[in-house]
Symmetry: C2
């Protein structure tokens, strides 16, 4: 408190000194405003600078985002100039704006999202237009008095129903945008005071402008550096798998290493957090991916839903790694001699687990059935069993020695800490926790293996040719955890 | 395989029997088409029926969603009829549709989301309109040849820049919709072939129709059963807290109970899964909540961001409960006698932890500082310490007894299982895991307490009056975990 007051006092003394020098030639009030204005400008410039800096980093990290922006600009310039040329402009009249609007609203980052919006927009506009014209026809024949009532009630009913449909998860996932466009078009047709003959002409113009806008969008998004939602999802899943492997590696290395933490290792360990938070991204990408036509190695009916299951099993692993991470960073740790005893077996189990994950990454990246995943899973399970055996044999071989022999040497070496006499179970506890989490993680990696093999089955991955002549062991046998 | 084949055989025999009766009076081809058509119709009717059933359940579960749909229908009917009446219609001309469009696009479920879209729409339209008119002015003075080039380049540049700004997280969170409307309006103004004088008139009309649309939306959304994003977030957070408490309670009861699992308990235990998956919902609600004006007990500058921190700390707890849950459902369990030994202490620690969570729920629901949260946290910490002590004293008091005495009685009782001679550490292991997870959960609940107390400080919660005369202990001292 005293320190704070003194520093504030210094500041007060310094300020009049500083300002008196600057403000000598000006009057007091103007000077204050000037200083205030300068301060405000400084803050604004600083904020804008930070946003720009941020933008620069985003652009450098993923140049495809910059390319997307250029694509949007290009599509809009084309459609604008297309309608700006007089002959075309006169033909379409005020409806030219529908093409521009379609491009702005429909152009999305991924091809799948653009397709989703284009198809939804065209179908919804067509349906709502037809329905609107039909109701107009009915309303026109029932007299001038009833007409606004019929139109009002129909708008109310259809808008309410379409809005409600947006709450239904299955509709929301596929037709959310379509429902909105349906309401929009239906209301616009209803509210327009035109006669039905004019309406037909209008509908024709609007549909054709929307068709021009959507086809331009689809062309631009597919021809210039397309970003496929399916590829992104595929990439995200195997990237997350790699991050998980790195995290596991980082955690175990950190726990059993002898020196202090390296900075790189700490960053590597935090990779599992991305996996924990990628559910929403995975779901939206899987939603968009199913609208995409065949591209590269992916068919139209690629089992995108299975990727969500792999994602869920990865998250399941990540929960365990989160707990492992908090175990490792806790203050109470097992004595070094005990850790050394387990170090080898734990490192072995973790490296075999990581091998399995890496093999799965290769399976997904290459989209080929791995020929030796079964061997790697068996190795992992064997290493885990060895680890469990070591844990089982701990009390008889090492436990007593630790509780009796080590105690005295420790007490001598550490003085105060040794006098606390930690009970044997408390000494083993942190290590037991880590080991049992390692076992649990291996079990959950088994779940990931199952999910990936299911994907290989559904997407009909071919077997990998890796030089080995004839394999007798079946490669698509389900793996039963550990 | 044999079973499958026989059932297929039966089916094949049955079908000709069934159809031969129906198709007697008709020709073969027509009959087949009729059956196929009937099948298709049946599937469609079934699917529609399922969607309707689903919709009915959604409506019953949250009637506010139905009210929202009625509100949308109402707002659209009002604005449609408003423009359908001739005198008004003639005045605004084709721009009437902008009001309808605004209502359709801007009306959202929560007040915050509607405000966000309204404010973004109005400001972005104004800015883009002004900029567009300015560039039109410049382009007009540089001759007919240069005009389309200047317009095209400006559309390209501004559209690209605005699209890129949508990738910057801070801009995306607040102005995503505004950036889209900016591109839209700017392109429309550029593409319109009007002269600048006409443009001013057009801009005036468009802004006024948009103003009518947005104000109608804001009125309807705020006057009829408003759904506040802030309230929803507040509700979600304390609901998640309750679910977490229930899950913890369920897990511990399940583990230490003597009889089989009840169905209710199993459902209760799964509550933590909601907490794991609510990050996206929390973030979007917090984003919308900051646009909301003062309502009920929430000020305009209510610290919504702190709710996200509470949510994160709850998720932190949920990860641990997830691991606890998998421990409990694993096959290998500690022997009953050992479990009984810990049962009381574990139940005590969990019930005190649950008490803390419930007290926090009350703090958040009532928005009043709890006077006895410190006591409850102290009780929890004490119970956890007792549990740890029990674990520490286990080897000396119980461990040896288990390894020597119990073994023989168990071997007699269970025959085969006893002959496996499970090592003492493996017997204690499951229990040790559960206990250490209980300790970890208590630590993480300490994190939740800190986050809630920070919220109480930021939102200036008043102290609760609960009959106790004068409290000497300070209530806003930070709680240092456990």
């Amino acid at each position: 408190m005293a320190k704070k007051a003194s520093s504030r006092l210094e500041w007060r003394i310094n300020v009049p000194d500083g300002t008196s020098k600057v403000l000598e030639p000006e009057s007091g009030a103007v000077g204050k405003i000037w200083v205030g204005l300068k301060g405000c400008m400084g803050i604004i410039v600083l904020k804008v600078w930070r946003v720009l800096e941020n933008a620069w980093h985003i652009g450098v990290a993923d140049p495809r985002k910059v390319i997307h922006c250029i694509k949007v600009g290009l599509a809009l310039s084309i459609v604008s100039l297309f309608y700006y040329m007089r002959p075309l402009y006169d033909d379409f009249g005020g409806n030219a704006m529908w093409a521009v609007m379609t491009v702005v609203v429909v152009f999305e980052y991924t091809v799948g999202a653009t397709f989703y919006k284009c198809i939804n927009r065209v179908i919804a506009t067509f349906l709502a237009g037809a329905l609107g014209v039909g109701i107009h026809l009915v309303a026109e024949q029932s007299g001038d008095q009833l007409k606004p009532i019929i139109l009002g009630i129909s708008v109310f009913l259809f808008a309410s129903a379409a809005t409600f449909s947006r709450f239904i998860p299955s509709v929301k996932a596929r037709f959310d945008y379509g429902a909105m466009i349906f309401i929009l078009t239906f209301s616009l047709v209803s509210v327009s005071g035109y006669r039905v003959v004019e309406l037909f002409e209008l509908a024709h113009l609007r549909l054709s402008t929307i068709a021009i806008g959507t086809s331009l969008c689809i062309l631009v998004t597919m021809l210039f550096c397309p970003v496929w939602a399916g590829c992104e999802l595929h990439h995200l899943i195997h990237q997350n798998m790699e991050k998980l492997a790195d995290s596991l590696d980082g955690c175990v290395t950190e726990y059993f290493k002898e020196n202090g933490t390296e900075k790189d290792l700490n960053k590597k360990m935090q990779g599992y957090k991305c996996v924990l938070n990628s559910k929403a991204a995975e779901e939206s990408m899987a939603n968009f991916a199913r609208w995409e036509p065949t591209h590269g190695r992916f068919n139209f009916r690629h089992p995108w839903k299975q990727y969500l299951k792999i994602g869920a099993s990865l998250r399941n692993c990540a929960y365990c790694i989160e707990t492992l991470n908090s175990c490792i960073s806790s203050e109470i740790q097992a004595p070094p001699c005990l850790r050394k005893h387990f170090s080898n077996k734990c490192m072995k189990a973790s490296s075999y687990s990581i091998n399995v994950l890496k093999e799965l990454v290769i399976t997904i990246v290459k989209m080929k059935k791995s020929s030796n995943i079964d061997v790697k899973v068996a190795e992992m399970n064997f290493a885990v069993e060895e680890l469990e055996d070591a844990l089982k044999s701990l009390p008889t071989t090492h436990f007593i020695a630790t509780t009796t022999g080590e105690e005295s040497t420790k007490a001598k070496a550490e003085g105060v800490e040794g006098s606390e006499h930690p009970s044997p179970i408390m000494k083993v506890l942190p290590l037991v926790k880590v080991v049992s989490l390692m076992v649990e993680i291996a079990t959950r990696i088994g779940g990931v293996v199952n999910a990936v093999e299911e994907l290989a089955r559904l997407a009909e991955f071919k077997a990998a040719k890796d030089g080995k002549p004839k394999q007798n062991q079946p490669t698509d046998k389900p793996v039963a955890g550990h």
